[in-house]
């Protein structure tokens, strides 16, 4: 297709010119005008042929042939609606599943931020050999290489404000530097207050990103100084969805945790959720944090690490140059002086990570399951290809006559291959188009599932963009070639004469090669299904194990929720908070349907935990025990049904006194770790390396899981909880969620401005923490059923085709006295053998690769023999059925009919 186009008229003109010249020569030899022209034409030879030659070489023919092929292909496909429907549907499922998972990956990991020149943005992360010397240290989610908890090589994305200012001053490498941190707050604009996620941002946040407001203005440097008027910028999404796109909100006052802020702008529609998927609905100046939160880290303290720093590289500055200059500054300023963050030999250094796609918390959280799923759908697509290829092979043997005729009529082999490839590309294009539609639906429901199970509200936009379209187009094309090529090559290799001699409806003789190809395809199908099935089996068992896992208390019939008192405007100190907690507890306990009620600092089994260090008084610091900690209200153990092993639980009196040592309840694991087999009751403990007698053990309870259900049981301490901001736990008699409105009324009776938030049942909360496993397992099961169906259809087709081809032979054998079971075995044998080979191969591959699933598994080894065996048996049974059905037809062949078949 690289030929230059030359018009036919141009060519005719050249021929015309040639004849003119030629006849001129003849005229000079003395011929008349007419004779000369005739002689010239004669000497030119066949003019038409020359023109045809020109046309053949031209571009037009290529298009003409393509158009012919497409029309012929469409006609042929329309004439075989069954084949076309099955092939298109199979491909659509395969391509659709791929496009769906890809659009998720695209949404959380690949899509660039919609700001000018996103490739210039870099996120800063430091790493060191030892923990920094800090007063305040935040580890953020979404750090590019994770936030290392191991104390041997701590790493984080948090920086101090003075450090941010120093980085901002590096004008020769960065064209802009911004900092921010996430927050959530109760925001009230006019009507109802709601808990929203937002950001505190430095003054140059919006200008460095290059983002404008759609209404009003964004924040700037003048807003980010202490003493400036408190202002807020609201997200386009919140403005549209919650404020009805009312532009009069501009200039109005809103409250953030009851502090007034004036709305100065609405961000543009496409202003990014900085962390793809985690919505941000308001932005406040960094300097305003001290207004909202009196305990905000100090802006002057170089030992408080609390800010993300993001920089925009100057256009001509490379990443490595900026990194070198940055490190020179960073090392010298963090390892010297009295407040040095690091010691000289800690080798602190900063790495710049590409931030064109924003932060990475979703990417890190979902990367593993998404790539597992991508692998699974890739395998499914291979299966679909194998299936359609199988169909095409069967079809191409039925079409051998057609091919032979075309060949005999002079179509070169290449043209036939091209025709067949055009057909398969048509199929895959149709499959791709339908697949996009499937993908859209599937991706939307996946996102719905993800956000229903996330503690942070997710806003994943899985819209079909050019990248998804391009991906689908590429996949469809590759798929079309993949399943079309071998059958096309084979279909075009024809021995014309014998094929044409075959009578009407008879399928052509099947070549050794084509049956070998079909056999390979069937083996591959079985092996791939085994792979996906094993994955599904392992993940399925993981989910079952997790759901069965013993939490140490009865998780059914517990309602969990938090009560936020900040929106009430009451000045609540700890003493008052304690009283309010107990008042709420009493009201809840009195509700019909509630057997008992208690509260704690936070909920159990939602993926987070508190912790502290305990030691025996007078013992060396090295014997200190790092334990989980949960401050709880009165009646907590009774409500949760955590068994008391020894001593007693807290009484009301324990919550009134503040004399040291305070009472503490520990679990068995704690007792074992610190006291061995000794009696823990009455022992006195110190906390966090203090030398005072802080705690006295009054009771020991059974072991429970705390942070999440996956984690091993950890030593855990329970202390009396006497402060505000509580999570309440209600043991109910029936469905816990049926009580929500009743409970809400009870909260309202205590104070109409108290907010009931984060409501769920305990079992729901546990389900949420294992939703990754549930999601992957559910999808894998779905995919593997699809795979199983595809593979058995493939087997069925193979055996059925064999039966059809051998009807005559079967008739002869039966006429000669063959037994029915012999016929059954004769026809089904190949299917059984191929299935066996496929199963063995599939299991072998699975055994090699399932270890990559290790981190997702719970309570089951990657090569769990039971899973492997049961999958093999399952597939064996389904495959046997797929072979048996067509083989049974062979058994029923009437020899008389069969012999007349020809």
């Amino acid at each position: 297709m690289f030929r230059r186009r030359r018009k036919e008229s141009d060519f005719s003109a050249e021929i015309e010119s040639h004849i003119e010249h030629e006849s001129e020569g003849f005229r000079e030899q003395g011929l008349s005008e007419e004779q000369a022209r005739a002689a010239a034409r004669r000497s030119f030879g066949n003019l038409l042929h020359a023109q045809e030659n020109f046309y053949e070489a031209g571009v037009w023919l290529w298009w003409d042939h393509l158009w012919q092929d497409v029309r012929l292909g469409l006609r042929l496909l329309r004439r075989a609606p069954g084949f076309t429907a099955i092939a298109v549907l199979t491909l659509a499922l395969g391509i659709g599943a791929n496009a769906a998972i890809f659009s998720l990956i695209n949404a959380v990991a690949l899509r660039s931020l919609p700001v000018p020149n996103p490739q210039q943005l870099v996120l800063l992360q430091w790493a060191s050999h030892n923990e920094p010397n800090v007063n305040y240290f935040e580890r953020f989610r979404g750090c590019p290489s994770g936030s290392g908890r191991s104390s041997s090589s701590p790493t984080a994305c948090s920086f101090s404000y003075p450090m941010f200012e120093q980085i901002r001053a590096m004008r020769d490498v960065f064209s802009g530097v911004l900092s921010f941190r996430r927050t959530n707050a109760i925001v009230r604009v006019g009507g109802n207050p709601g808990k929203l996620w937002g950001m505190y941002v430095s003054g140059d946040f919006f200008s460095t990103l290059g983002a404008r407001a759609v209404v009003g203005r964004t924040l700037d440097g003048n807003d980010d100084v202490s003493g400036a008027e408190p202002v807020i910028v609201i997200s386009y999404r919140y403005w549209q969805n919650e404020l009805g796109a009312d532009s009069t909100v501009l200039g109005k006052t809103t409250t953030v945790n009851l502090k007034p802020f004036r709305i100065v702008g609405i961000t543009g529609r496409d202003f990014p959720d900085f962390d793809p998927g985690v919505p941000v609905d308001f932005w406040l100046p960094l300097a305003a944090e001290s207004i909202v939160n009196p305990h905000a880290p100090s802006r002057t303290d170089a030992n408080s690490l609390w800010l993300y720093v993001l920089a925009r590289l100057k256009p001509d500055v490379t990443n490595s140059r900026a990194e070198a200059e940055l490190n020179a500054m960073f090392v010298s300023s963090t390892t010297s002086g009295p407040t040095a963050l690091f010691k000289g030999d800690d080798a602190p250094r900063v790495t710049l990570y590409r931030a064109a796609e924003g932060l990475a918390s979703l990417r890190t959280a979902y990367a593993k399951p998404l790539y597992v799923l991508m692998t699974a759908v890739g395998l499914i697509l291979l299966l679909a290809c194998a299936n359609v290829a199988g169909l095409m092979i069967a079809r191409s043997s039925a079409r051998q006559k057609e091919m032979a005729v075309r060949n005999a009529l002079g179509a070169p082999r290449l043209r036939i291959i091209r025709q067949l490839l055009t057909e398969s590309l048509l199929l895959s294009a149709a499959g791709g188009a339908l697949g996009i539609f499937f993908a859209e639906v599937a991706a939307k429901s996946l996102v719905a599932f993800l956000s229903a199970n996330s503690n942070v509200p997710l806003q994943i936009d899985v819209g079909i963009d050019w990248r998804v379209l391009g991906f689908t187009l590429a996949v469809s094309t590759i798929v079309g070639i993949l399943f079309g090529f071998a059958p096309a090559l084979r279909g075009s290799r024809i021995d014309v004469a014998p094929t044409l001699k075959l009578s009407g409806g008879q399928p052509g003789p099947i070549g050794r090669q084509s049956s070998r190809l079909s056999n390979i395809l069937v083996v591959a199908q079985v092996a791939i299904s085994i792979l996906v099935l094993v994955g599904a089996g392992l993940l399925g068992r993981t989910v079952l194990n997790l759901q069965k896992a013993d939490a140490g208390f009865r998780t059914e019939n517990i309602l969990v929720f938090s009560v936020d008192m900040t929106a009430s405007g009451l000045a609540i100190d700890d003493r008052r908070g304690n009283r309010l907690n107990q008042e709420l507890q009493n009201r809840f306990a009195a509700l019909p349907g509630v057997s008992s009620a208690s509260y704690s600092l936070g909920p159990m089994l939602i993926g987070g935990s508190f912790g502290s260090e305990y030691n025996l008084q007078g013992a060396p610091p090295s014997s200190a025990l790092s334990a989980d900690l949960l401050p709880v209200g009165p009646g907590f153990f009774e409500t949760m049904e955590i068994p008391l092993v020894a001593g007693r639980t807290f009484t009301r009196a324990d919550f009134e006194s503040s004399a040291k040592p305070q009472p503490i309840v520990i679990n068995r694991a704690f007792a074992r770790a610190l006291f061995g087999n000794g009696n823990p009751l009455g022992r006195v403990l110190t906390e966090d390396q203090s030398q005072t007698s802080d705690w006295q053990v009054i009771g020991m309870v059974g072991d429970t899981k705390y942070e999440n259900i996956r984690k091993e049981i950890a030593p855990t301490a329970f202390t009396p909880y006497k402060y505000r901001l509580s999570t309440f736990e209600l043991r109910t008699q029936g469905d816990p969620k049926a009580l929500i409105s009743l409970v809400r009324q009870a909260v309202g009776q205590v104070n109409p401005n108290f907010l009931m938030l984060e409501i769920s049942s305990q079992s729901e909360a546990i389900d949420k923490t294992i939703y990754q496993e549930r999601l992957v397992a559910a999808l894998l099961v779905l995919f593997s059923l699809l795979g199983l169906a595809l593979a058995s259809i493939g087997l069925y087709g193979l055996v059925a085709y064999g039966v059809a081809r051998r009807t005559h032979e079967i008739g002869v054998r039966m006429a000669l006295g063959a037994q029915r079971h012999e016929i059954l075995w004769l026809t089904a044998k190949l299917g059984f053998v191929l299935t066996g080979v496929g199963i063995v191969m599939g299991l072998a591959i699975a055994a090699g690769v399932t270890r990559y699933l290790q981190s997702l598994l719970y309570g089951v080894r990657p090569t769990d023999p039971w899973t492997f065996a049961s999958i093999a048996i399952l597939l064996g049974c389904v495959a046997a059925f797929g072979c048996y059905v067509p083989a049974r037809r062979a058994m029923r062949v009437d020899p008389v009919v069969a012999l007349r078949y020809e």
């Binding site: 230059r4 010119s17 001129e24 020569g25 030119f44 030879g45 042929h49 070489a57």
Partner: protein
């Protein structure tokens, strides 16, 4: 396909037409009919270029970038499409000429003196 009266011309060997065209163009740009005439005359009327094959050959050489074409006016003031040799064509000519000479020399050695005698 030629309808030229049988003058006992030699038939062109496959692939030699391209070489002859390139060689003819070494003297400067020429149109199709001129090329055919030149080959005929230079070979002392031994070789006859079938015009029907000439133009596809020109087309082919042009597509390969060995010759380029431009419309111009011929000596007797007629419009004609002039072909000229590109530098790639010049190199191709050298290559092909060498090949051809080796080939004819080798064939000559094999055919030997008897052939001369006839």
């Amino acid at each position: 396909m030629s309808t030229q009266e049988a003058k006992n011309h030699l038939e062109l060997l496959q692939g030699t037409l391209d070489l002859l065209i390139l060689r003819t163009l070494i003297f400067g740009p020429q149109h199709g009919q001129g090329i055919a005439r030149a080959i005929q005359q230079t070979s002392e009327e031994e070789l006859l270029v079938e015009h029907g094959a000439l133009y596809p050959a020109l087309q082919r050489l042009e597509a390969r970038g060995w010759i380029s074409a431009k419309w111009g006016t011929s000596l007797n003031n007629r419009k004609a499409r002039f072909y000229s040799l590109t530098s790639a064509g010049r190199k191709q000519l050298v290559r092909e000429t060498t090949k051809w000479k080796r080939l004819t020399a080798a064939i000559g050695r094999i055919l030997g003196p008897e052939a001369k005698g006839s």
